[in-house]
């Protein structure tokens, strides 16, 4: 295995990159410079992650701006394609052929000679734990096996940079753990990874550095701690069904634990207290005490903001100056 030297140039550089599909915005004025390492590209479905990755792979041209990967333009760049591995987020392998044959064929496309390609394909299939099934047709593979075969074709030519689109999609917990282990091993040789996902916890197992993208815009970038801080800094909406929602709302406002309160109705027609707060930690600590003091009973407490999607929605509102 080759050890890659640290690059003086940025691994990835986007300079005011915009990509339009007719009148639909794929990515919007993204400027970012990433050093080598592992990066998670996080965003809800339709955020622009696939467009971002396609721009990285040179499969799309930016409508405006410049993209550089490992110091060069990725569009129709054969030299760069020798240094990058891509694991798409969708199937697309030839179903009727054996996994080994498929990987060996792609290695030949990578420039490997026939016998060497087959030998290397067998090695890499073993690395991803597919030795036993590599001679079977891909159509007989489970989802996890297909995912591992896709990974095998992406890492088979020992790329410097591995680009993964939803690498854990459809995998069970055991499959996810195995995939994480494989990718961590890949990174130990000093190689870089960019993995796109819409689930923070999936990609968190792989890296501590993230790019948050939504609505085609790069909303934030940073470490896991910074992302979690963002979660705390962004107002969180909480719905409380209680015996006395109005009194509870007034007390919370009085104690300055919430930014705003309003009343809503549940599906059953009951009054529900809907509050917005930036102090979720403090609120969760004080709420039990308050409830006891006020003699209020709480039947249900739920956050509308427990998904990454709502974080992105909030970040988008901040980005537009609505919050």
């Amino acid at each position: 295995m080759r050890e890659w030297q640290a690059q003086a140039v940025s691994m990835i550089e986007f300079e005011n990159v915009t990509r339009l599909y007719g009148r639909v915005m794929g990515v919007n004025d993204i400027s970012v410079s990433l050093p080598s390492g592992a990066w998670g590209l996080l965003g809800p479905n339709g955020a622009g992650k696939s467009t971002f990755l396609n721009l990285l792979m040179g499969q799309l041209r930016p409508t405006r701006g410049k993209v550089k990967v490992l110091g060069s333009n990725p569009r129709n760049n054969p030299e760069l394609m020798r240094r990058i591995g891509y694991c798409p987020g969708f199937e697309g392998m030839y179903a009727g052929v054996a996994g080994l044959e498929w990987v060996a064929f792609l290695l030949r496309m990578q420039g490997y000679a026939g016998q060497r390609a087959r030998q290397r394909a067998a090695e890499v299939m073993e690395t991803v734990g597919m030795s036993d099934a590599m001679l079977r047709p891909i159509s007989s593979y489970s989802r996890g096996m297909r995912q591992r075969t896709r990974l095998a074709q992406a890492i088979s030519h020992e790329p410097e940079l591995l680009i993964l689109d939803e690498p854990f999609s459809g995998l069970d917990p055991v499959g996810r753990a195995a995939m994480t282990e494989l990718l961590r091993n890949f990174m130990t040789a000093g190689r870089s990874i960019i993995g796109a996902s819409h689930l923070l916890h999936e990609i968190e197992a792989l890296t501590q550095s993230f790019l948050l993208i939504s609505g085609g815009r790069l909303l934030a970038s940073g470490t896991a701690e910074e992302v979690h801080e963002l979660l705390f800094d962004v107002p969180m909406e909480i719905h409380i069904r209680s015996s006395s929602p109005r009194r509870l709302g007034a007390v919370l406002l009085e104690r300055e634990l919430v930014d705003s309160v309003r009343m809503g109705r549940s599906a059953a027609g009951e009054e529900v207290l809907i509050l917005s707060t930036r102090h979720t930690g403090e609120l969760s600590r004080i709420l039990p005490q308050l409830v006891t003091e006020q003699g209020v009973r709480i039947f249900e407490l739920k956050t509308a903001d427990d998904s990454l999607q709502s974080l992105f929605s909030s970040l988008m509102k901040i980005h537009r100056g609505e919050m």
């Binding site: 339709g46 199937e91 030839y94």
Partner: protein
């Protein structure tokens, strides 16, 4: 170049399925079946003078094999070269390899030509033997079986027609393969429809319009070569006709071959340029 061969070999193995082999056999059999049908209507040809019979056979031979069999053979492989990869979403795996798009298209083009030419060679050989030695077809000839000079003339004619058709098949497959590859690159989602429409409108109708525009068709060049090679004695008479003068090229064989090769290079280069410039992401339209 090794990557082109890799694609060719891989695609060839994938093509060796019962359905594909069946399609290849159908291509081979089609001209043979048509000739057999004509054979059972033998009185039509036996009532004609020998020279006319040979001309009829040359034209029928040309229509059936270099035109239909070859064009169809390359069409089935070259036209959907990009479309099949897009449909099964395998495009991105190949396009993200060094020179992946170029190697993929050239490999598939090579396979299309080999597929069309092999079917045509077998078909030409079978049809030549069928019409060459069938007493019914030779009945009106000055010499028949049992007459040594007649057999000698017949074998000579068969050799000429076989060699002519093989050359035409090779040129037809090479040129039509490149043309269909280009149409497939321009309209990957409707490649087959556009190829059929183009062939009908341009290669069949436009090539017969006695105007300069027909000079840009493959059919015009192939037709002229056929007359030069298969009908060396009768071509003067054909070219003397006011209409035919405009549907057969006047230049020599090298000129026609050069034209065909030039068209092939232009079609192939354009197909590669279009595919390289296109953005086939492989993701579905909803994936942003």
């Amino acid at each position: 170049m090794s990557q082109v061969w890799a694609v060719f070999g891989y695609e060839l193995r994938r093509n060796l399925t019962p359905w594909r082999i069946g399609a290849w056999l159908a291509l081979v059999s089609f001209p043979v079946v048509i000739v057999l049908l004509v054979r059972f209507q033998g009185e039509i040809v036996t009532n004609m003078p020998r020279s006319t019979i040979d001309t009829v056979w040359s034209v029928l031979f040309y229509m059936l094999i270099p035109c239909v069999c070859c064009a169809l053979g390359v069409f089935l492989n070259a036209a959907p070269a990009i479309a099949t990869e897009l449909e099964q979403r395998s495009w991105v795996y190949l396009a993200t390899r060094p020179h992946g798009v170029v190697c993929l298209l050239l490999g598939k083009y090579l396979l299309a030509v080999v597929w069309g030419v092999t079917a045509a060679v077998v078909s030409v050989t079978l049809v030549t033997l069928l019409i060459g030695f069938d007493p019914l077809f030779t009945a009106a000839a000055p010499g028949t079986f049992g007459n040594d000079s007649g057999i000698g003339q017949r074998v000579q004619w068969m050799a000429r027609i076989w060699f002519t058709m093989i050359r035409l098949c090779l040129l037809s497959s090479v040129a039509y393969g490149a043309l269909y590859l280009l149409i497939g690159a321009l309209f990957p989602r409707r490649a087959m429809v556009f190829c059929v429409a183009y062939t009908g409108v341009v290669e069949v109708i436009l090539s017969l319009i006695p105007a300069n525009i027909n000079r840009l068709t493959v059919q015009y060049r192939l037709r002229s070569l056929m007359i030069n090679w298969a009908e060396p004695e009768g071509q003067k008479e054909i070219r003397g006709n006011a209409f035919f003068r405009h549907v057969f090229a006047e230049g020599g064989n090298p000129e026609q071959i050069l034209w065909l090769l030039l068209l092939t290079v232009v079609f192939l280069s354009a197909a590669l340029a279009v595919a390289r410039a296109s953005e086939f992401t492989g993701a579905s339209e909803s994936d942003v």
